[in-house]
Symmetry: C2
Subunit: 713 residues, 2 copies
């Protein structure tokens, strides 16, 4: 490349990082304002009706508005972009691992993710907007990297530099980090999240770029919040961007406290792995329901409608259930007299606040309503607060924990964008506070607010199995660095405990969705196999100057993305491996129709008519298709020289190389095709091609079922 192109590339790289940060910051803020206003209005209406003793109307308004919002979210998801349902973090993780699943990062997904998330969270579901923010950030990054959507004629020429896997992956890593940063106002946490959970390949340069992106997000959020101080953002209040206010006194702890903390860690591990197990079961059930709804209908019109209709019905059911819990359960709680001498208003009248009056007399509050009839952010803030130790009774905490734990499990998997962070933090902090209340007599230094923070940490560690990034995110959320050692301890314990039962929730979902995720370590049984053992199928190879008809036939017959090219005698003495040619490049070449009558080398002519960027990787689902080619009978008989588009130095392994080593090579270098060459001379110069699917346990164990029972380790 020329010098000026390098500069263009660098400037563009940083400009894109800046744009990703700016846009993600704006979207994150917009999300928050929208949710706060919609949910705030809903809650205000409900509590006003409650004040006038109109209990049934209040419930009708509450449940009705929840249901309308939920239906909106579900309709968006079901009809426009089914890929937008769920957290989105597993999909982003799989994409960064190299899985090019269609529509994961499409513009329609972005649109639905933003608005679906707003409606879903406002509808009072036990879901968060944090996972969807990560997905949103990645979608924004993808969209910018493609220079907008080609569908809507928004391409941008300079962006040709980013039409390759590596640069696109880098951008999307930045986007994921920006998403976390925007969701939690945690710039360092965002970088660490991208590093620990999202990215499969990491370079030092990327650390710096993601850091820049998240810094931009932090600045944007800060500026916007300052703008909002002047009451122009409607009901947007304290709850807007989560920043929990934990007691800022220095935590002093002694041995009983440490034991309590260890107890919380173990509990978090157990509850977390149970949560993962149940989420997996529920998700499988939902999938079966949806598939059943899809499958047996002969009528085309019906089958289109029935699938989405089932999904929406499921969402409405869960919405009703959630409304019933949120409105019904507080009736079981007795009214508590307001604490005297508190700085806060009690009971509160507005849409937020710690002390909800609900059905109580003036001067009293309903503690369970303060948790249930609030936005999730406010509920978490209440649980973390440490001003009034007896604010929540033990029975209320138990009811809330059970309610949230169950609702969280059945809510994930319905057709709305649903993050897992908030339900997990809610459940975790409620049992943390519970433990704090129960052991309050033993403990001296730690108060209930800190206990609930530790509970949240332990449950997060138990479900998501991240450590460093969770720790930093929680620190940035609560702005209390002195909790660090305790938080680390809790996270380590809960992760260790949970790891002995099952895998992290995101890994589970990736696996359940059948995405071919390459683990960073090779499976133990792979050490007993060699690369040649798993190469499958009849190999289709091309000669370096190949007949057009043969190529077209091969492209039509198979769905392979890479074909080996072999130099054959007139041009060389003996057949030898020339390299690897990609399907997409073949399609571009055939489209160009630069053929010759005879079998001869004319690569230089071909190079003249194509520009290097013609072969750049197209956006997802936007490349040429084999159906787009129109070739005459005469052209089919002609020859084309594949040398110019052949990657002449593909990575190769010898067929006797251990499969484990080949897997490490494949994974570490982020390959898509790995050529297997024969060990002994005198055979065809290539034995096969290994792709991602050949390394998947299902494939390998399908070929060699004896390894299933052996329990190799």
């Amino acid at each position: 490349r020329k010098r000026v192109e390098i500069y263009q590339y660098i400037v563009l790289k940083w400009t894109l990082a800046l744009l990703i940060g700016l846009l993600t910051g704006f979207v994150g803020f917009f999300n928050n304002i929208a949710v706060e206003n919609i949910a705030g209005f809903k809650l205000l209406l409900t509590s006003n009706l409650m004040l006038h003793q109109k209990h049934f109307q209040a419930f009708a308004v509450f449940a009705g508005s929840n249901m309308i919002l939920a239906t909106c979210a579900a309709a968006l998801c079901a009809f426009i972009a089914p890929a937008a349902a769920g957290s989105g973090i597993p999909e982003v993780k799989a994409y960064l691992n190299g899985v090019d699943a269609h529509s994961i990062l499409a513009p329609s997904t972005l649109f639905v993710k933003i608005f679906g998330s707003i409606f879903g969270v406002s509808a009072g579901f036990v879901v968060g907007k944090e996972g969807p923010m990560v997905h949103t950030g990645s979608c924004i990054a993808n969209l910018l990297g493609q220079g907008g959507s080609r569908k809507y004629h928004l391409t941008w020429k300079c962006l040709r530099y980013f039409k390759n896997d590596r640069d696109r992956r880098d951008l999307i890593t930045c986007g994921a980090a920006a998403g976390v940063a925007a969701a939690f106002r945690a710039p360092v946490g965002g970088v660490l999240f991208a590093l620990e959970e999202a990215a499969s390949w990491w370079r030092s340069a990327l650390l710096w770029r993601t850091f820049f992106t998240t810094a931009v997000v932090a600045v944007v959020l800060r500026t916007l919040i300052q703008v909002c101080r002047s009451d122009i953002c409607g009901l947007f209040g304290q709850g807007g961007l989560i920043m929990f206010d934990v007691n800022s006194t220095i935590p002093a702890y002694n041995t009983p406290d440490l034991l309590a903390v260890i107890l919380i860690g173990v509990l978090g591990g157990l509850l977390g792995s149970l949560y993962n197990y149940l989420v997996d079961k529920v998700l499988r059930t939902y999938t079966i329901i949806n598939e059943y709804a899809h499958s047996p209908l002969p009528d085309f019109y019906q089958s289109i409608w029935k699938g989405p209709a089932f999904k929406i019905l499921l969402v409405i059911t869960i919405s009703l259930l959630t409304s019933c819990c949120a409105y019904g359960l507080p009736w079981f709680a007795q009214c508590i007299p307001c604490p005297t001498g508190s700085e806060e208003k009690c009971p509160t009248q507005g849409h937020a606040g710690n002390y909800k009056i609900f059905q109580c007399q003036p001067g009293h509050y309903n503690d369970l309503a303060s948790l249930f009839l609030n936005t999730n952010d406010d509920a978490i803030r209440n649980l973390f607060s440490s001003k009034n130790i007896n604010e929540f009774r033990i029975s209320s905490l138990v009811i809330f924990f059970i309610g949230i734990y169950s609702l969280g499990i059945i809510t994930y998997g319905i057709a709305v964008p649903s993050g897992l962070f908030i339900p997990v933090i809610l459940a975790g902090s409620s049992y943390g506070r519970l433990v704090g209340r129960l052991l309050g007599s033993l403990s001296s230094g730690l108060d209930v607010g800190l206990f609930s923070l530790l509970g949240a940490a332990s449950f997060l560690g138990g479900t998501m199995r991240m450590t460093v990034s969770l720790c930093v995110i929680l620190l940035e959320l609560t702005d209390n660095l002195l909790m660090l050692p305790l938080m680390m301890l809790v996270l380590l314990i809960s992760k260790s405990v949970a790891d002995s039962f099952n895998k992290g929730v995101y890994d589970q979902i990736v696996k359940m969705k059948g995405l071919p995720y390459m683990e960073s370590h090779a499976e133990p049984y792979m050490r007993h196999l060699v690369a040649g053992d798993v190469c499958s199928g009849p190999l289709i190879t091309f000669s370096s100057v190949e007949k057009v008809g043969n190529i077209l036939h091969a492209l039509q017959m198979t769905r392979h993305n890479g074909f080996p090219v072999i130099d054959e005698p007139p041009f060389v003495d003996a057949p030898e491996l020339c390299g690897l040619v990609l399907r997409s490049h073949l399609l571009v070449l055939l489209k160009g129709k630069k053929f010759t009558k005879n079998r001869e080398l004319f690569g230089s002519e071909i190079l003249r008519i194509f520009h290097a960027f013609d072969f750049a990787k197209a956006g997802s689902g936007k490349g040429l298709k084999v159906e787009d080619l129109e070739l005459s009978e005469e052209e089919m008989e002609m020859y084309v020289d594949l040398h110019p588009i052949t990657n002449a130095s593909p990575y190769t392994v010898v067929e006797t190389m251990s499969l484990a080593k080949a897997a490490v090579l494949f994974r570490e270098l982020g390959l898509r095709h790995l050529c297997v060459v024969p060990k002994t001379p005198g055979r065809p110069p290539i034995v096969g091609i290994l792709t991602r699917h050949d390394f998947m346990p299902e494939h390998v164990l399908g070929l060699y079922p004896q390894f299933i029972s052996h329990n190799y380790s």
Copy 2:
């Protein structure tokens, strides 16, 4: 491996991480106590003499004790372990990149690093104990991983699992992280430092393990500090473990503040790259002086003595110069009346404190003496303090900055363990405070303490070129999360500015020391070369059943570490590559003396007499040497079967593969040898072996000098 061995391995892995954390924490604390007590006693003595107007005696005591301490440190370094001089971070970085330099992590280095660092810092040099702590942590990890030193008969059998490159590298990464955590009380910062600066390969599992190690360090330090609260640690006071107390009010800033911050960033970048440039020049000068001292002496006795003697002389010179600056420069400062209404005592009498009386009347203090005649930690704390804006006059800050900047440059490279963090933070925070004072009228929200923190950040970014880890370390040091966005901005600017001039200081030192460090990206000119172009030298290959004499001869004649093994006709039809055999394995095999008279396969018998762990990688400098072998004439004529020790699936590349791609493969997989195989059949089955040195720019550009001028990019 068997199941029980896996468990042993896991338990051991975590036990070692725990031990590394514990030991590093203890050593870090011990270092601090020792320095605080020695330096405190020295300063107390000096200030007492000053109080009695005995100025010359005071100087004599001050300079004399400095010189004695400096001589001790230099003597330790020069005679026992020259590798302990300097920061140690570049060496650790090179080791983690795969450079097996002898003695970098030896037990003697550990000893000298600890005590040399204590003496050096106590001697009042402008050096830090942070870099040496990183090296100390890595040495501890290495020592534990080897199960103690074999020299002192402290090996431990279970540790055989860790006798390979990967596990050892993991341990040392943990050690480096623990070192940072112990030096700065920054557990998260330690993990990020290991990730961003130290390690060349990173796995997600490692993140968790380093995190555990640094958490242990944090807990140990916390416990020990609490123990010390009860005044049993002598003069160990506030200054012991750095934890700077920056103004904890929420920083509010506006546009002029932002401009000032950008100015600091740019300034930091410029000053930082100049610092790197000058440090490099000074280091090269010192190396020339030392080499000159070594070379021309015919007398053996003299040449042993002269080298170290020169080094010690240099240390004494610098020590005198430092003492003169520290004691002399404060005389230029005028006395300032003590501020009224301050909570702190003024002037202070003891060894620490903000307001040194020096030569002044009671009720006055000398601001320059508060900076110079203090431990470095206390000086930094003074600079960061924001209680009294006018505590330091502009002229004093200018003098201090110039003094520290120059002393820092000439001090690094002398024969004492010398960290770079503290000098850089000192210089950075002084010009940061200076900028804060000068722009004080414009600025509204930020006070001088925050400005000096930002100055320190910018200068750190400009010299060391880390971003995320520095940011987190500074946050953990100052315990003020709200500074994050400004800190990020400053770091990004200063790193960008400085990067356009030269490389980071650690990279520079690695390069200057001639360590073959593999960069993570391939050089641009490598794209124009193929793997076959740089394979050098006549290749020595062994037949798979080889004559003992030939092997011994090859081992004696060359210093290669890997030899290709070729299966040859009686055993196969045509010569083919069998694999790669390592020098160390060959030595063990020859030592075993399991030979046969005839050329035949008897690998299974060989396997019977050896245990797998006989071939495990020995500790640094402790493997068998070729001189240790004693073979008779008769044995030399016998044959040995190399199959059992041959790595039968080495990574290979075809000779026509682009050198850039081969470099990526080599680096990403952390290889030591890469076999180059021919493209066309009918030639010998291996063309050459690529090692780390073959990828070094010096080697490649030596072979193809035309690429030097081309300025490829």
